[in-house]
């Protein structure tokens, strides 16, 4: 298969020494195997996330995202924009939609972009996609299965889809209630998807995990408990915020509720990197706070 190129929007959390730096490491390994070239958008900025709204008004927020789109259309012309973070993807896509529906908003955004010298670069024409869409739509499960050299045999994995890759846009036309793409990816990598994982689209609290920790941890507890109840040994996610929220508060939840949670929470790209033959470091496994011994074992083989 010929090399595929995309314009890449990594997002703040994927920066070196940031909270999802290990996601990035595994994405790079996965892309190497699949012959995907990611061309980083030069000088990209933060998307404003789902929490920017209090201080940042509507127009400033759209302007932030429009700057990234403009930079991409200028430097990586005609390449689809691909994000690895669900919130970055959603935010960028929402801006593109909003600007295509409102001439006023578009004109105001361009006037603002002028201050950064980008007023003529925003076209809003390229598709904006999440990495999992690229995998499923441009490759397909069969092609993704081909490079597997070390199937993840016998590991039971709960696919935690969360909200923002699923709603409001969704991936590959799947249902909002029971999207299957993570389960199918898990299966393609030779592991065992946990069927009937009933909290797979439950919201973890998102950014409110920081500002309303007690309330969000009630959500996170449900998500983990249901994974255990259905026999999962590991959770897999498509989003750095979901990953972080479900992984790092397990100790606190244990203290509050007397639970004994200790379940690894990995990225789909980590599963793929290991199945494609990467070692633990290349799969970013050393970045997991709750280590994933089963994956480490396979990676060491």
């Amino acid at each position: 298969m010929a090399k595929k190129e995309y314009s890449f929007y990594p997002g703040c959390s994927s920066e070196r020494k940031a909270s999802a730096s290990n996601y990035m490491v595994s994405v790079e390994s996965m892309c190497k195997t699949l012959d995907i070239q990611l061309n980083e958008i030069p000088d990209w900025n933060c998307c404003g996330a789902s929490i920017g709204y209090a201080e940042g008004g509507e127009l400033p927020r759209h302007t932030l995202n429009a700057r990234n789109i403009a930079l991409s259309e200028k430097h990586n012309a005609n390449q689809d924009i691909v994000a690895t973070c669900a919130a970055c993807w959603l935010g960028t896509k929402e801006t593109q939609e909003r600007l295509s529906h409102s001439e006023q908003m578009l004109a105001d955004t361009k006037e603002s972009l002028k201050e950064a010298g980008l007023e003529n670069d925003y076209k809003g024409e390229v598709p904006i996609r999440h990495m999992v869409e690229v995998l499923i739509e441009d490759f397909g499960y069969e092609a993704l299965g081909k490079p597997v050299t070390k199937p993840l045999q016998g590991i039971k994995i709960a696919g935690y889809v969360g909200c923002q890759t699923n709603r409001p846009f969704g991936v590959d036309g799947e249902s909002f209630e029971n999207p299957k793409y993570l389960d199918k990816l898990v299966e393609t990598m030779g592991a065992e998807p946990v069927e009937n994982y009933d909290q797979k689209v439950t919201c973890c609290g998102g950014a409110l995990a920081f500002s309303e920790p007690e309330k969000s941890q009630v959500q996170i507890k449900k998500i983990i408990e249901s994974a255990y109840d259905h026999g999962a040994e590991m959770i897999v996610t498509p989003c750095p915020v979901c990953q972080m929220n479900v992984e790092v508060y397990q100790d606190q939840i244990n203290k509050t509720y007397g639970t004994k949670f200790k379940i690894p929470v990995t990225y789909y790209s980590q599963l793929m990197a290991v199945a494609y033959g990467s070692n633990a470091k290349e799969a970013g496994l050393n970045g997991n706070i709750v280590r994933a011994p089963q994956l480490e074992e396979i990676a060491a083989k």
């Binding site: 932030l64 603002s112 923002q164 709603r167 919201c203 500002s211 508060y249 706070i289």
Partner: protein
């Protein structure tokens, strides 16, 4: 009470719906709500909402301006988009909640103590300065927003999480000094300033 708030009260008299339609993000959708109640059961932090979205829409039509804008409810929105995909009238509920929160904050009559409002403010200041999130400075400011004593207490509670992230290379303890952000911070700041000015003018905030 701010001058802007007083001006808005005078401008819209008792027509709160009209005020929302003019000034709140996606506010012109509010009148489309048919009060079916589907969204009311959709919010993940459900019982923390004193007034669920359905009720907020009803209150807007009933002109309960103070109650709506000073409410803590819309600050409980996690942006999960459950409501949007379920609403039979396709109201962009998530955005209306964010819009109401932003509007109340702008008028200076938003819930004072709400932690998400204060966190969101810190977050925006963080990114609009350097263009990218500095996770270390963001978390430090968040934990210390209630003062030094409570900050140390929260910091200690979160110490395990922080250490875990540092050990796995996912949080840079030196980021206060080393975090760089984007190259064109000047362009970015000028661009945001412009966007703010235009928005102020459109919404009648500017004098």
């Amino acid at each position: 009470m701010t001058a802007t708030n007083t001006a808005m009260v005078a401008k819209y008299q008792n027509n709160f719906l009209q005020e929302v339609e003019a000034n709140v993000e996606e506010g012109d959708w509010v009148k489309m709500c048919m009060q079916c109640g589907v969204c009311a059961g959709s919010c993940p932090l459900g019982n923390a909402w004193e007034h669920p979205p359905q009720e907020i829409f009803m209150m807007i039509r009933a002109g309960k301006r103070e109650e709506v804008l000073s409410s803590e409810s819309m600050w409980m929105c996690t942006s999960c988009y459950n409501c949007i995909v379920r609403c039979p009238r396709e109201l962009p509920i998530t955005h209306i909640m964010h819009g109401l929160a932003n509007y109340a904050h702008r008028l200076g009559i938003a819930h004072k103590k709400n932690p998400t409002r204060r966190f969101a403010k810190i977050f925006w200041n963080n990114i609009s300065k350097s263009g990218r999130v500095n996770e270390l400075s963001l978390s430090i400011k968040l934990y210390f927003m209630d003062g030094i004593v409570s900050g140390i207490k929260k910091g200690l509670q979160m110490m395990g999480v922080g250490l875990g992230l540092v050990k796995t290379g996912r949080l840079d303890p030196m980021a206060l000094i080393s975090h760089k952000g984007i190259k064109d911070t000047k362009g970015l700041q000028a661009m945001l300033k412009k966007a703010n000015e235009i928005e102020d003018k459109r919404k009648g905030y500017a004098s």
